[in-house]
C-alpha cells in the first residue's frame, strides 16, 4: 500500500511540474474562464433586469466560468497521458515496478489540483468584481466541491478517450464534447427563460445544467438543498459512467496482448 502512495505521489508531482513548466497548458483555459466572467458579465448583465430574474448576473455567469475552467483543468489529465504515450515515457514507466494504477492516477490528481487552484483564483476575481454569495464563504466550499466533482467526471472521460486514441489529435477532438456540455444548457439565461423547446429539452438532460443550478442556488439563493443535491446526483452518475470508462480503457491499454 505504501508503494501505491509513493508511486502516485511521485507521478502527481511530475505532472504538476510539467503543467507549471508549460504555461500553455493552463493559460488559455484561465483566459477563457475570465473571458466568461468579464465579457458576459459586462455585456449581458442587463439580463438580470428582466422580470423573474433573481440575483446578480455575476453570480449567475460565475458557474459557467468555473465549469469551463474545470473542464480545461481535468481535461489536461488525458492530454498528459497522451503526451507520455507519444514520447515513450509511458513505456519507460511500465518497465518499472511502479503500481500500474498510479501511472494513470497521477495525471488525474494533478489535473484536479490544477482545477482547484483555478477555481479558487476565479472565485477571488469574482469577489473583486463584487460577488456577494448568498450563503457566505461556506457556500464557496460547495461551489468548489461541485466543480471538483464535475472535473473528476470529465477527467475520467478524458483519460478514457486518450488511452484509447493514443494520439494528441484524437484526444483533443474528444474534448470538444465540452461545447454541447457547456453551451446546450442554462448557460446565459435561466432554464425557464429558454424558449426553443429543443434547447430546453437538451438542457434538461444535460448534466451540466444541474451543476450550474446547484452553484447558482448556493450563490444566489442560499442553502437550497434540492438543487445542491441534484447537482451532486448528476456528478455521481457522470463519475460512475466516466470512471468506469476510464478504468476499462486503462485495462485495455495496460493489457499485454
Amino acid at each position: 500500500m505504501t508503494r501505491f502512495f509513493i508511486d502516485t505521489w511521485v507521478q502527481t508531482v511530475r505532472h504538476l511540474l510539467v503543467i507549471m513548466r508549460n504555461p500553455f497548458i493552463f493559460l488559455p483555459n484561465i483566459m477563457i474562464s475570465l473571458f466568461f466572467l468579464f465579457v458576459y458579465q459586462g455585456g449581458l448583465s442587463s439580463v438580470a433586469n428582466l422580470p423573474g430574474f433573481e440575483g446578480s448576473y455575476l453570480a449567475f455567469i460565475l458557474p459557467v466560468s468555473i465549469v469551463s475552467a474545470a473542464i480545461g483543468g481535468s481535461g489536461g489529465a488525458g492530454q498528459s497521458l497522451v503526451r507520455d504515450l507519444e514520447n515513450g515515457y509511458f513505456s519507460r514507466l511500465l518497465l518499472t515496478p511502479a503500481t500500474r494504477i498510479s501511472i494513470v492516477l497521477g495525471p488525474m490528481i494533478a489535473g484536479m489540483i490544477q482545477l482547484l487552484v483555478q477555481t479558487v483564483l476565479i472565485l477571488i476575481v469574482a469577489l473583486f468584481l463584487g460577488l456577494d454569495s448568498a450563503s457566505g464563504i461556506l457556500g464557496f466550499v460547495v461551489v468548489i466541491a461541485l466543480a471538483a466533482g464535475f472535473g473528476l467526471a470529465f477527467a475520467g472521460y478524458s483519460v478514457g478517450v486518450s488511452l484509447r486514441a493514443k494520439n494528441a489529435q484524437a484526444s483533443q477532438a474528444g474534448t470538444f464534447i465540452f461545447f454541447p456540455l457547456i453551451f446546450l444548457s442554462s448557460t446565459f439565461v435561466p432554464l425557464e427563460f429558454i424558449e426553443a423547446e429543443w434547447l430546453k429539452w437538451v438542457a434538461t438532460i444535460n448534466p451540466t445544467t444541474y451543476i450550474f443550478e446547484g452553484m447558482r442556488a448556493v450563490l444566489i439563493e442560499g442553502w437550497q438543498w434540492a438543487p445542491i443535491l441534484q447537482g451532486l446526483l448528476a456528478i455521481s452518475i457522470m463519475c460512475a459512467l466516466t470512471i468506469t470508462f476510464a478504468s476499462m480503457s486503462a485495462r485495455k491499454a495496460l493489457n499485454r496482448d
Binding site: 508511486d7 511530475r14 515513450g88 511500465l94 515496478p97 499485454r256
Partner: protein, 315 residues
C-alpha cells in the same frame, strides 16, 4: 542460481490480424554473457524484447528471465532487468536529474538514496553539467546516454538494449559501445542487445543469433558464424552499374549466390582461390572491364546476406 540468465522456449507471438511476428523462438543466455540478436527490420527482434521485458505477452511458449516467468511473475522480472527501448522513454519537460530521481523512487529507493544515485549516474554518463537542463533541449546522443542511465538506476542483472545506437553518429555510437562493454565486463551484467548493424554485433557480442521472419536462422560466436558459411567471397568492382549487372548475369552460373549493389558484385563460392581464374576468363571473353577484384573470407555481413538473403539495414 538463475539470476542474470534468460531462457526462452518456443516463443510465439501472433498479433491481431494474424500477423505472426514470432514463429517459435528458443534461446538461452548465460549469466554475464553478451548476446546479440541480429536481424533486418520487422524480423521479430523488438517483439522478442517486448515479451522478455513484460511489455507484451507471448501467444504461446515460455520465457524465464532470471528464473522468473515473464507471464506470471512480471513484477519480479521488472526488478531484474534494465531496458533501453528503440525509442527513448524521456519526458522532455523534466531535467535529467529529475528523471533519474523519479526512476529511482519507482524502484523503491528513498528520496535521499534516489538523489544520491542520480548524482552518481549523471557523473558516469558525463551529464553532470546538463543535469538541471530540460531533456527536451538535449542532443540525440545525450538523450541516449540518459536513457541508458535510466535503465541502470536499480543496478539490474540483465540489460536489454533494443537497437541502442540506431540514428547515432559514430562518436556517440562508440561512446555507447564503451559504456555497454564496461557494464558487461566490470559488473558482469548480462546484455541482450538487438541490432541491425553487423559491425555492432561483431564488435561487442560473444554470441549472436540471426533472426529473420520470426525465426532464428543461425546462432553461434561471430567466428563460428563466419566459419559455418564455409565459403569465400569474391568482390568485383565494375566500371558502372550497367557493366555490373551484365557481369552478374554472366557469373551467375559460377556463384552459389551473388548480390549486386550498384557497380559492386559479390559472389559466394567454395574454394575461391581455385575458381578465380574462371571468373577472369568469363569476364575477359566478353571484354568486361573490372576495376578491382578481391577474394576474402566471409565477413559477418556476408553471413547475414547468406542466411537472410538481404543486405543489412534493408527491410
Amino acid at each position: 542460481m538463475s539470476a542474470g540468465t534468460i531462457e526462452v522456449y518456443d516463443l510465439q507471438k501472433t498479433f491481431k490480424g494474424d500477423v505472426q511476428a514470432l514463429k517459435g523462438v528458443s534461446l538461452s543466455v548465460g549469466k554475464g554473457e553478451f548476446f546479440a540478436f541480429l536481424g533486418p527490420n520487422g524480423a521479430g527482434k523488438s517483439t522478442t524484447i517486448q515479451i522478455l521485458t513484460t511489455l507484451i505477452s507471448p501467444t504461446s511458449g515460455r520465457a524465464l528471465v532470471s528464473g522468473y516467468d515473464v507471464l506470471t511473475q512480471p513484477e519480479q522480472v521488472r526488478l531484474e532487468i534494465g531496458v533501453a527501448l528503440q525509442e527513448t522513454g524521456i519526458d522532455p519537460a523534466l531535467t535529467g536529474r529529475e528523471l533519474l530521481e523519479i526512476q529511482a523512487r519507482h524502484f523503491g529507493m528513498s528520496s535521499v538514496a534516489a538523489k544520491k544515485r542520480a548524482v552518481e549516474l549523471l557523473e558516469k554518463i558525463n551529464l553532470t553539467e546538463d543535469a538541471n537542463r530540460r531533456c527536451g533541449n538535449y542532443s540525440g546522443g545525450m538523450r541516449r546516454r540518459l536513457d541508458l542511465a535510466l535503465s541502470l538506476v536499480h543496478r539490474p542483472n540483465i540489460l536489454f538494449l533494443d537497437e541502442p545506437t540506431t540514428g547515432l553518429d559514430p562518436v556517440n555510437r562508440i561512446a555507447i559501445w564503451e559504456e555497454i562493454r564496461n557494464l558487461n565486463q566490470q559488473l558482469g551484467t548480462t546484455i541482450f542487445l538487438t541490432t541491425q548493424y553487423l559491425e555492432e554485433a561483431d564488435q561487442l557480442a560473444e554470441r549472436i543469433s540471426i533472426i529473420d521472419k520470426g525465426q532464428i536462422v543461425i546462432s553461434g560466436t561471430p567466428k563460428e558464424l563466419k566459419r559455418r558459411i564455409g565459403m569465400d567471397v569474391i568482390e568485383m568492382h565494375f566500371a558502372d552499374e550497367a557493366a555490373a549487372t551484365r557481369g552478374a548475369q554472366l557469373l551467375a552460373g559460377l556463384c552459389k549466390q551473388h548480390t549486386q549493389q550498384r557497380e559492386i558484385v559479390k559472389c559466394f563460392v567454395e574454394d575461391g582461390t581455385r575458381r578465380l581464374p574462371d571468373f577472369v576468363r568469363t569476364l575477359d571473353a566478353e571484354s568486361l572491364q573490372i576495376h578491382s577484384l578481391n577474394l576474402a573470407p566471409p565477413t559477418l555481413d556476408d553471413v547475414f546476406i547468406q542466411v537472410t538473403g538481404k543486405k543489412e539495414g534493408t527491410a
